[in-house]
């Protein structure tokens, strides 16, 4: 296939890969990118269940408004699209109502 819209992905230089965990599974991303970007790249799209009907949800607006990409980091509920990935962080999906 001729590609007129050039694929420039090979020309992008990123920081080295680092590991973090999501619900206990090791995932890699680039230090300094958003947590949401790393999760999306790794195919981890399902970040939480909607509280009322456990409908699976993930990042949606990517601009810090919709609150769909919430995850838990160090006990705090955070927007994964606004968190900078740092090596070694442990991230868990948000579960409502669950004790613990």
């Amino acid at each position: 296939m001729i590609r007129l819209a050039p694929d420039q992905s090979a020309q992008i230089r990123r920081t080295e890969k680092v590991e973090f965990t999501f619900d206990g599974t090791a995932i890699w991303g680039h230090a300094g990118e958003s947590l949401a970007a790393a999760l999306i790249r790794s195919g981890r799209l399902h970040l939480r269940d909607a509280p009322e009907d456990t409908d699976p949800r993930g990042a949606f607006c990517l601009m810090g408004l919709c609150q769909e990409c919430l995850v838990v980091l160090e006990g705090q509920t955070v927007e994964s699209c606004r968190i900078e990935l740092q090596p070694g962080i442990d991230v868990t999906s948000l579960r409502y109502g669950a004790d613990g």
Binding site: R3, S9, I12, T15, E33, A37, I40, A50, C61, E84
Partner: protein, 482 residues
């Protein structure tokens, strides 16, 4: 001299506080600073640029430039050069009128802070409207405009194989960016027809550069043999716990779905139907709003050069109506100059020369907005069991029932159902709900305003609000009458 070195007490008085560092706010800050004003520029993004020129994150060491990244770099360089006090990662959550000027409450690094300013320039931009369709809550569905944040900030495509569906020029930009970043576009789907675009040729002729760029996107997509479905929309999303495929259907001239449907496999979908001005901050500062379908819906009432009827408050950019980035830059300069004028600078001449350029840019922007704005039939994509309020998982049926038993305003639907009481504050459901009420009650949309915004503008951790609390400082009131 004795200096008080408290924390919150230290807030010095700013001349002009600009909220939003996009094309509008960035230029407002630059213009005001040129006139010697003490300017502070705030944005919840890390760096200036706004939505269109969002900066790369710190994981990107180098990458090919795009028109957006170059324009953003230019704005960022100007802001640095002018030594403007820019504060990134700073979210405004409340605005309060004081006897002299304004208190602006911000959240930064998990801490709240109060800034005090004589005047405010609010340039908070827009967020997007997505007509709810069955399955749009599935992971892997992204806002069409939102997806561009992933491209600009993270230089990542949204998935391996993406369907791009939506209105206006943005679909083509998004599709072309996905290809550029190494993703695959399964199809481009747009309610607009080729004829809709031809009808906008006079406006396009005014911005040959942008028109050419758009034409190139389309040629590229065609050369890549990416199917473009004109006059169509994605009408539902299938998949277990994530996007696996999407149904596409033809639309009629009113954009109501009609006729054959077919399915395309994909792992992601970018979906969007135009932009909505973000008016909450202006509303919190007391600016009234009016309905203007040509500007993208409810907009704050502004006069010339971004002035408002609230003293010391100036507005500019897409937050006052979706006129696009080129107009936002000029509008920002105008509003920055107005604010400086309010504080004694002489800017009338400069503004007079800018105004006609602004009007020209706005005409082009509004032509694009007209292509992007949903036509009434698009509401038919929402089915009875489609979730409309994502935060509270409320379906159209639930909303219809509430309206049928007499809830005739967005506020009444919100109170009765919690539709709009979720963590997003109603940003992703109020417009669809207002349109639904208008349709159901056969009233004009102009009669169904969004429910009043409530602070905080963004969620604020209790720990941030309660920092520095000393129990003994509690002001114990006179006990309530027994």
């Amino acid at each position: 001299m004795l200096l008080l070195c408290g924390t919150a007490q230290m807030a010095d008085l700013i001349d002009i506080l600009v909220v939003g560092a996009g094309p509008a706010g960035g230029n407002a800050a630059l213009a005001a600073a040129r006139h010697g004003k003490h300017v502070v520029l705030l944005d919840e993004q890390v760096k200036p640029g706004g939505q269109i020129w969002r900066a790369k994150d710190s994981s990107i060491l180098s990458a090919p430039q795009t028109p957006e990244s170059s324009a953003g770099d230019a704005l960022r360089a100007q802001i640095t050069k002018a030594q403007i006090d820019h504060r990134g990662s700073t979210r405004i959550w409340q605005i309060e009128r004081q006897t002299e000027g304004w208190d602006v409450h911000v959240l930064r690094d998990g801490q709240v802070e109060r800034l005090t300013t004589k005047t405010l320039v609010l340039a908070t931009g827009a967020h997007e409207f997505v007509q709810p369709i069955p399955g749009w809550t599935k992971p892997g569905v992204f806002g069409l405009a939102g997806a561009t944040a992933l491209f600009k900030q993270n230089l990542s495509p949204p998935g391996q194989r993406t369907i791009v569906s939506g209105t206006g020029p943005l679909v083509f930009f998004v599709a072309s960016e996905i290809c550029r970043l190494g993703g695959t576009v399964a199809a481009v789907v747009t309610p607009n027809t080729r004829r809709d675009w031809v009808a906008k040729l006079p406006a396009l002729a005014r911005r040959v550069d942008l028109a050419l760029r758009g034409a190139l996107w389309i040629v590229h997509l065609m050369m890549d043999r990416i199917p473009i479905f004109w006059g169509c929309s994605v009408v539902s999303v299938e998949g277990v716990a994530r996007v696996e495929s999407a149904e596409i259907q033809k639309l009629d001239a009113n954009w109501a779905p009609k006729g054959e449907t077919w399915s395309i496999d994909a792992d992601s979908l970018c979906l969007g139907h135009g932009l909505i001005p973000s008016i909450e901050a202006p509303q919190l500062s007391g600016v009234t709003i009016s309905y203007r379908s040509d500007l993208g819906g409810w907009v704050p009432d502004i006069g010339e050069d971004g002035a408002t009827s609230v003293e010391g408050v100036f507005l500019c950019g897409d937050g006052t109506g979706i006129r696009g980035a080129a107009a936002a830059e000029l509008h920002g300069t105008l509003a920055g100059l107005s604010a400086a004028e309010h504080l004694g600078a002489r800017t009338a001449k400069e503004r007079a020369t800018l105004r006609s350029r602004f009007n020209r840019a706005a005409r082009f922007g509004l032509a694009m907005t007209a292509l992007s704005t949903p036509r009434p039939g698009l509401a038919m994509l929402t089915k009875p069991d489609t979730i409309v309020c994502r935060c509270e998982s409320l379906t159209q049926t639930r909303i219809a029932q509430e309206v049928e038993v007499g809830a005739a305003s967005t506020n009444a639907v919100k109170s009765g159902l919690r539709a709009g009481m979720g963590p997003c504050g109603g940003k992703y459901c109020q417009t669809a709900i207002a349109r639904f009420i208008a349709m159901h009650e056969n009233r004009p949309e102009a009669e169904i305003p969004p429910s009043a915004p409530r602070p905080p503008l963004r969620p604020v951790p209790v720990s941030a609000l309660s920092a520095d609390f000393d129990y003994d400082d509690l002001p114990i009131p006179k006990p309530a009458p027994l």
